[in-house]
């Protein structure tokens, strides 16, 4: 029986509990939230693959066939030592995916034009995307926290100056800024490490803004004033009250930002300013396959799907986290 045609939820009726806080409550809400749970599954999956590629030093898998004399015992982030990667296979055959008439189960996703097993390259591609995504976001988060917290806490002209600077950096689209930075700082030979720093710097304004506004809103809370009135030192107020209470929303934002970072790094590699061949990276693979777009369609499809799934994982988790922490549009 539907009485009254208005069925829009409201958060103000007696049934709704007041906002719970604290980590345990948040965790419980995440557990209950389907979106967040699925995001967590995807992230775990991608992270597990990344971990595997770091442990599995057998880079020979990255080549065609079984170049067994090129076995690497050392576990390493591959983009750090591209010189150790096996050289492209001899065979210039372009094996199609397994479900194709000419395909074989030896190469479930086929091989790239250089004869390297595509499945293995996709798996190893997670390493660059995920580590760059995490590292660059972390860098931006740290830089942004410093700038944002200083601006928000001190206020006045410090705030003004920092925010003008932030606005300036913000005005240059991240991709452009990162390309200019990476190319010039690397002296014309960009690679992943410059990309991480570039992305990190480009995201400082984004994080600085959000952290500043969080600090400003927490600073207005009565418990901060209560702590001041009680004679608690400024340092302790920041450490014990301001940071823990601004942390949660910032984490939500950071999670969503990881997705954006991966997106941008993929674009960067696609244009040739990120990971450099032969490092397996999804963006780089898309660039290589771009020339084979007409002859081998599948080469362009797999890396894109890999990027999409990874980013979706972080977005799902971020969304779930946001729902769990934001009471306004809670069900």
């Amino acid at each position: 029986m539907a009485v009254g045609e208005t069925q829009v939820e409201s958060g103000s009726e007696p049934g709704t509990k007041e906002v719970e806080t604290g980590w345990r409550a948040t965790l419980r809400k995440i557990k209950r939230d389907t979106t967040a749970r699925w995001g967590l599954y995807v992230i775990t999956f991608v992270l597990a693959i990344t971990a595997y590629t770091l442990i599995d030093g057998n880079l020979s898998r990255l080549t065609f066939g079984n170049v067994s004399d090129f076995a690497m015992a050392e576990a390493l982030p591959i983009f750090e030592h591209p010189e150790r990667l096996p050289p492209p296979g001899e065979a210039d055959t372009n094996v199609p995916p397994a479900f194709h008439a000419d395909g074989s189960m030896a190469h479930p996703l086929g091989t790239d034009p250089n004869g390297r097993d595509y499945f293995t390259r996709i798996v190893y591609g997670a390493q660059v995307s995920v580590s760059v995504g995490l590292a660059a976001t972390f860098l931006g988060l740290v830089g942004g926290t410093i700038v944002g917290a200083v601006a928000g806490y001190y206020g006045g002209w410090v705030d003004d100056l920092l925010m003008r600077a932030v606005e300036t950096v913000y005005a240059i689209p991240p991709l452009i800024l990162i390309i200019v930075f990476t190319v010039f700082v690397s002296g014309g030979s960009p690679d992943v490490r410059f990309a991480i720093i570039g992305v990190g710097i480009a995201f400082i304004p984004v994080f600085a803004r959000i952290i500043r506004s969080e600090v400003l809103s927490v600073r207005e809370m009565d418990y901060i004033e209560a702590a001041r009135a009680a004679g608690v030192k400024d340092r302790n107020i920041i450490l014990r009250h301001v940071i823990p209470n601004s942390f949660a929303p910032v984490m939500v934002y950071a999670t969503l930002q990881i997705g954006v970072t991966i997106l941008i790094v993929a674009g960067l590699s696609f244009l040739g300013f990120g990971a450099q061949p032969p490092t397996p990276d999804w963006g780089e693979m898309l660039q290589t396959s771009h020339s084979y777009m007409h002859s081998n369609v599948w080469l362009s499809i797999w890396p894109g799907i890999a990027i999409m799934i990874t980013i979706m994982g972080f977005n799902l988790f971020g969304d779930g986290l946001q729902d769990a922490l934001d009471p306004r549009i809670n069900d």
Binding site: E18, V19, E20, T21, G22, A25, G155, G156, W157, D159, D160, L161, R164, M221, D222, Y223, E225, A226, A227, R228, A229, A230, G231, V232, K233, N236, R240, H241, P244, N245
Partner: protein
């Protein structure tokens, strides 16, 4: 009745905390001031806020003028020259409507806000002069209770940590001692000591205000500023918390500055009451005196406005007209004069009471534009009963009426049949000039506009002096 149970316990060597006795020194120095002597004295206190801050603050931009950019700050005069004292062991009620500056005053006294000018003597020492660390140490003697039970407790901390935080900040006791004291305080304020490890969200609003109380009392303060501590609570819970506050006051010899907008609560808990309006204290007297014999027209209006929970009481309501002026440009002299029903007639004219009464009403009606434009004769009839004041005032009124009368210009003959829509844009009605004329000729010349009132008068109830900032007592 147990006296000072908590502090006794803490100081009791058998509880194992004897070394920390001297940390409760505030208690000792507090004894120097006898019950009933001034504990805190506020002298000429001012707190102005800049309207906005930042690099370009104070730079205003107006393309209509030349040069289009000008520099100059407007100040919000939230607290403007306030003087009073609070005596040891008493509760001073501070009452006023929203925006009158009472909360700002409370925070400025605590130096949570930096005073713009003036002194705050606490036990003879000027808090306004203290440097950061001196001030921080002084804070164990002065505490505060906040209005909002939701935001005044850090949601990520446990109740125990919250209560212990001030003690920790002042190096009071060791970990165990603090925990023992926190639990005792929980019991004192009427909570279960077992709640020590719970988070604030598990508590109702009333219970949270009790935690607030326990936190404030943990460092054994002498003086507590209570900023609307019960206004967010339901009526039946209000009474519980008020009673607890009173019991604790007696037990610990506390002095309260109790800030509230609710006159009933103020009447219940205060010994003396100060009434604030637009940044000024307009009246200060003992409770009975203030409520039974109010001497400031604003206080009277406030008292008349409260709905009394008694259907057989039918009093005059809503006696105040208009709205509170902006604290950026408050009225000169008495700040209440623009709304005062008893604005004093300017001395330079000869008035009868009735003449002044009519003129005042007309002046305000013009200023607020509360009547529809009508013919001059109608205005005369409506506001003056047909008789304008004699002499100069009469002429001024006459000129003002002409400015706002709908039949002002001789050329327009059909003034009778005009509809509202046509009147809207009537160029003949010059409200602004009429307002200026009336205000300049009358309101600005009243003593109320020219001098800041401050009078002490005899009380009818009690022995205290009665302060009233109203020229009616000159």
């Amino acid at each position: 009745m147990e006296v000072r149970a908590v502090s006794d316990t803490v100081q009791d060597p058998s509880r194992g905390q004897s070394e920390d006795d001297d940390l409760l020194g505030s208690e000792m120095s507090g004894e120097e001031i006898a019950h009933g002597d001034a504990l805190l004295e506020v002298d000429g206190l001012k707190k102005y806020f800049d309207q906005d801050s930042g690099l370009l603050s104070g730079v205003s931009f107006d393309p209509d003028s030349f040069p289009p950019v000008s520099v100059g700050q407007d100040h919000v005069k939230a607290v403007d020259d306030v003087n009073f004292e609070i005596r040891r062991g008493e509760t001073l009620g501070l009452v006023g409507e929203s925006g009158c500056g009472k909360s700002t005053l409370g925070r400025t006294i605590l130096r949570l806000l930096e005073p713009t000018d003036g002194s705050i003597y606490f036990k003879g020492e000027d808090l306004a002069d203290l440097s950061g660390e001196q001030l921080r140490q002084k804070r164990s003697e002065i505490q505060m209770i906040f209005q909002d039970p939701q935001s005044s407790l850090d949601p990520r901390m446990k109740i125990g940590q919250i209560i212990e935080e001030p003690m920790r900040a002042h190096g009071m006791l060791d970990d165990e001692g603090r925990e023992a004291r926190a639990k005792e305080l929980l019991e004192k304020v009427g909570l279960d000591p077992h709640h020590y490890n719970r988070h604030p969200h598990a508590f109702s609003g009333g219970q949270r205000q009790r935690v607030n109380l326990a936190r404030a009392l943990s460092v054994n303060p002498d003086f507590v500023v209570c900023d609307e501590p019960v206004s967010a609570l339901d009526v039946s819970i209000q009474a519980q918390v008020l009673n607890t506050m009173e019991e604790l006051q007696e037990e610990f010899g506390l002095t309260y500055l109790f800030i509230a907008h609710d006159l009933s609560v103020i009447r219940h808990i205060s010994d003396r009451v100060a009434v604030m309006y637009l940044g000024n204290v307009v009246e200060l007297a003992e409770k009975e005196e203030l409520f039974e014999n109010p001497q400031h027209p604003y206080t009277e209006a406030l008292l008349d406005s409260i709905p009394v929970p008694d259907p057989r009481e039918s009093d005059a309501r809503g006696v105040l007209e208009g709205e509170v002026p902006s604290p950026v440009n408050p009225p000169s002299g008495c700040r209440f004069r623009t709304r005062c029903p008893r604005l004093i007639a300017p001395d330079e004219y000869e008035w009868t009471d009735e003449e002044w009464y009519h003129t005042r009403a007309f002046m305000r009606a013009v200023k607020r534009r509360t009547f529809e434009p009508m013919a001059a004769a109608e205005i005369e009839a409506e506001f003056f009963g047909g008789d304008l004041p004699r002499g100069d005032p009469g002429e001024i009124v006459q000129r003002a009426i002409e400015l706002v009368a709908s039949d002002r210009s001789a050329g327009d003959g059909e003034s009778g049949g005009e509809s509202d829509a046509e009147v809207i844009g009537d160029p003949n009605v010059d409200w602004e000039r009429a307002t200026d004329l009336l205000l300049e000729s009358f309101a600005e010349r009243s003593i109320c506009a020219q001098e800041r009132p401050a009078y002490e008068i005899e009380s009818e109830h009690g022995t205290e002096t009665h302060f009233a900032a109203c020229h009616l007592h000159r």
